[in-house]
Amino acid sequence: MKIDPIHQFNIEPLFTLGHIGNQTIAFTNSSLYMLVAVAIISILMLASGTQLVPGRLQSVAEISYEFVASTIRSTAGSEGMKFFPLIFSLFMFICVSNLVGIIPYTFTISSHLIVTAALALLVFFTVLIYGVAKNGLKFFSIFVPHGVPGYILPLVMFIEILSFFLRPVSHSVRLFANMLAGHIALKVFAGFVAMLGFSLGALGWVGGVLPLALTVALYALEILVAFLQAYVFAILTCIYLNDAIHPGH
């Protein structure tokens, strides 16, 4: 038997929705898991009741709310709360789809660069458009740091501008690469267990213990990573938005 760690990332069209130009728009397994994530978030947030003493589901909903709200307040100030729905949607969408994706046999939406890039570009253009609309040309003062000597200012400005435009790249690749690498590593180690068991008989069964233990440990790590990457994505969004809200800092 052979390990195929890439197979899990295949996009499989379930039915065709239509055509745009020569592109076929299909409802794929990715679309299905997006639907699942949206459904889980909606159920969590809407079906959880509004009791004075919250139950379990309501507690989860309120903890998510408070968590994202406090993240925004601490990084972008109370003015950042106007982006609360956007950041909450991003955080919950990525977090829930990552956590669903870690269940065996499921598909992970954020293991595709096109998806993470689209989300990162959404943030990038939100920052750019809101920053210019609110501050006008003053927004571009984020490229001119205070207290830099005149003779290296052009160099610093060049670096600042470059890093600003590379933000969506790092923002999207970080999430994509983490999810991709984690799932491949899990698949490879889990594949070792099966391969050893099938090819070496009793010796393989004993030998398979080590990769099995590693798989379990990696799985725990991946659960952490699934949450952490969603948090990192959200907090970077807050930091970028902070530039648009307070360009002077």
Binding site: E12, I41, S48, F88, S89
Partner: protein, 187 residues
């Protein structure tokens, strides 16, 4: 895991492997033919999520949190008000108790003074009465004694007259007898 994965998705995986041959079996995240489908689905579902979150979910959960906050604050304020009220009631009770105690003391003092004064007056009246009785008695004694003394003079004069008559046989002059008796009595 790898094998059972294949087993679970047997027909679909088989069909897909056939399709995969078409685009060279490359790395799925870099297969540009799937981008349009993913972007369209992402746009649709993310917009749906955003609308649900911003119009329904966040107002609802935020409202519940705020309602709880208000309830807790209201309850705390109410508890504070009740505490203040009970403290005031305690203070009122204590001041009333002190007032009642001082009033009781005043009443006690007053009645004691009154009783004392009455007893004093009664004692004085009794003393006066007794003094008057004593004086009356003394007067009676004095008059009785005076009467007795005058009788004694008469008797003494008679006795002296008789004695003189017996001894001398001469009836003495009454005036000289009286003078002699008086002189003796005085002596």
């Amino acid at each position: 895991m790898a094998e059972s994965h294949g087993g679970a998705k047997g027909p679909a995986a088989g069909a897909h492997t056939g399709a995969e041959g078409g685009h060279g079996g490359g790395f799925p995240p870099f297969e540009s033919s799937t981008y349009a489908s993913q972007l369209v689905s992402l746009a649709i579902f993310f917009v749906v999520l955003y609308v649900v979150v911003s119009k329904l979910a966040l107002p609802k959960v935020g409202g519940a949190i705020e309602a709880r906050q208000n309830k807790i604050e209201g309850d705390l304020n109410e508890a504070q008000a009740l505490k203040d009220q009970s403290a005031a009631a305690l203070k009122a009770y204590e001041s009333e108790l002190a007032a009642a105690r001082s009033r009781a003391q005043a009443i006690g003092n007053e009645s004691r003074d009154k009783a004392n004064a009455q007893a004093e007056a009664e004692r004085k009246a009794l003393e006066e009465q007794l003094a008057a009785k004593l004086a009356g008695a003394e007067k009676t004694i004095a008059s009785t004694r005076a009467a007795a003394m005058s009788n004694v003079r008469g008797i003494a004069a008679d006795a002296a007259g008789q004695i003189v008559q017996q001894l001398t046989g001469v009836v003495p002059d009454a005036a000289s007898v009286n003078a002699a008796v008086d002189a003796t009595l005085k002596g």
